[in-house]
């Protein structure tokens, strides 16, 4: 089988749920190959069906183990699942150790589960840009549920919103002070909070602490944030978790959060515009002789980068002027 599949072949394969096509498509997207955009544009109309769930939280909370249990139960209920597991790229070496699969070994030969490990490739915010598009591919391939597992570094939560419809924050008792461990932003974006390792003795306290914090924050939105105790080891709480996820899904489908979904679409558009505008302008400027001279001037401290940027931009002919 030749590796050089055409875009049409890949798209057809994706829409049929064919794993090879899914794998190759995600790779092209990750590598920003020229076919990537054509693939996305052809599958995009087929997206919007899946329930996309973002799972975040500090390292050590047991996200991957919990996901394995969650997915097994979803499979029992006849759902197909796609998982995108994101781990950090080393800023020094550019490499990454993607070890989330170790905790999900039982799922690797389940026909109804597709797992892709991704590195952040130094996208600040901790969530690989390609994750969003990989989720679209899995959506178009017919997966009912897509789980995006992110690095639990704290800043990635904002990125997760751009991808997921339901956000689950997984915590574990004893990871430092539970409340201090919830960095700013996590309280606001979590739709469901999970206290994992629920067999531990301070688990119940963690649950009630989080519940009181949520009450204090006085949320006005129509969704009542859920707090659930689970044990990925024993399976406790998994059914409750699924129920909460389904409830949230019903809530957002009702259109209650239509403005939020519109905001998502707008964010996607802005991100795409930023990328195209930036790339085309910089490519354009690079070709002009001024580029090297300008960087030399910055190096010599003759000019600061911001003024230099302004100068370069000012010199560009405006779109309305004759070309």
């Amino acid at each position: 089988m030749s590796r050089a599949n055409s875009v049409e072949q890949l798209v057809r394969g994706v829409l049929q749920g064919e794993k090879r096509a899914i794998a190759r498509s995600i790779s092209k997207i990750e590598n920003n190959e020229p076919e990537a955009q054509r693939i996305i544009s052809q599958i995009y109309p087929k997206t919007g069906r899946a329930h996309i769930i973002g799972i975040t939280g500090p390292p050590g909370a047991g996200k991957s183990t919990l996901i394995e249990k969650l997915v097994k139960e979803l499979r029992n209920r006849g759902k197909t699942v796609g998982i995108v597991a994101v781990d950090p790229t080393s800023p020094f070496t550019g490499g990454a150790f993607l070890g989330d699969r170790v905790r999900m070994q039982d799922l690797s030969t389940d026909e109804g589960v597709y797992i892709r490990s991704m590195a952040t490739r130094n996208n600040p915010g901790g969530l690989a840009k390609a994750t969003k598009d990989a989720a679209h591919v899995l959506d178009a391939s017919g997966k009912d549920v897509i789980i995006v597992e992110t690095v639990g570094a704290g800043q990635s939560e904002v990125e997760v919103i751009k991808v997921a419809q339901t956000i689950v924050v997984v915590l574990a008792p004893g990871l430092g002070d539970d409340i201090q461990a919830i960095k700013a932003g996590q309280m606001e974006i979590g739709d469901v909070f999970v206290v994992n390792k629920g067999d531990r003795e301070n688990a119940n306290k963690a649950v009630s602490d989080i519940r009181s914090m949520l009450e204090m924050s006085g949320e006005e939105k129509g969704w009542k944030t859920q707090v659930i105790k689970t044990s990925a080891l024993t399976g406790e709480g998994i059914a409750d978790l699924i129920e909460s996820l389904e409830m949230h899904r019903a809530y957002i489908k009702k259109g209650a959060l239509l403005h939020q979904r519109r905001a998502h679409a707008e964010i996607e558009l802005i991100e795409a515009l930023k990328e195209k505008i930036t790339e085309s302008i910089i490519q354009d400027l690079r070709q002009k002789g001024e580029w090297i001279k300008t960087t030399e001037r910055i190096l010599a401290r003759e000019i600061d980068p911001y003024s230099a940027a302004e100068n370069l931009l000012r010199q560009r002919p405006k779109a309305s002027e004759k070309r």
């Binding site: 090879r20 794998a23 590598n31 920003n32 150790f97 070890g99 070994q105 797992i115 490990s117 910089i282």
Partner: protein, 136 residues
Amino acid sequence: MSTKERKIRVLIAKPGLDSHDRGAKIVARALRDAGMEVIYTGLRQTPEQIVETALQEDVDVIGLSILSGAHNTLFPKTMNLLKKKGLTDVLVFAGGIIPQEDMPKLRKIGIKEVFGPGTPTSALVDFVKNNLPKTR
């Protein structure tokens, strides 16, 4: 602006029942430090699990680590499955405890190289970089 550079994706797998993963993890770290994205399967993988993972993760390279002596059964099974699934241009190497006299047989089924204990990690990194499948 740089286009995203192509990262080398490597699967480090432990087929069979031995639980000696120190070597596998050292190799995984070395390749990561050389800028590659390394997916580690964990212990006790069947050939089916390994090939399925390689397929979904669209890896360029597979490293099989085995110390139980079962390589003569597990490696051919794995290579056959890879072929069946169309993953014919993945670079496959092996490591662990594999006797010299078994190596020609393994090379014949498509295992490009076998690295014994004591192999410097730099040799591994160079091997991978120099033997990558051509751009797909």
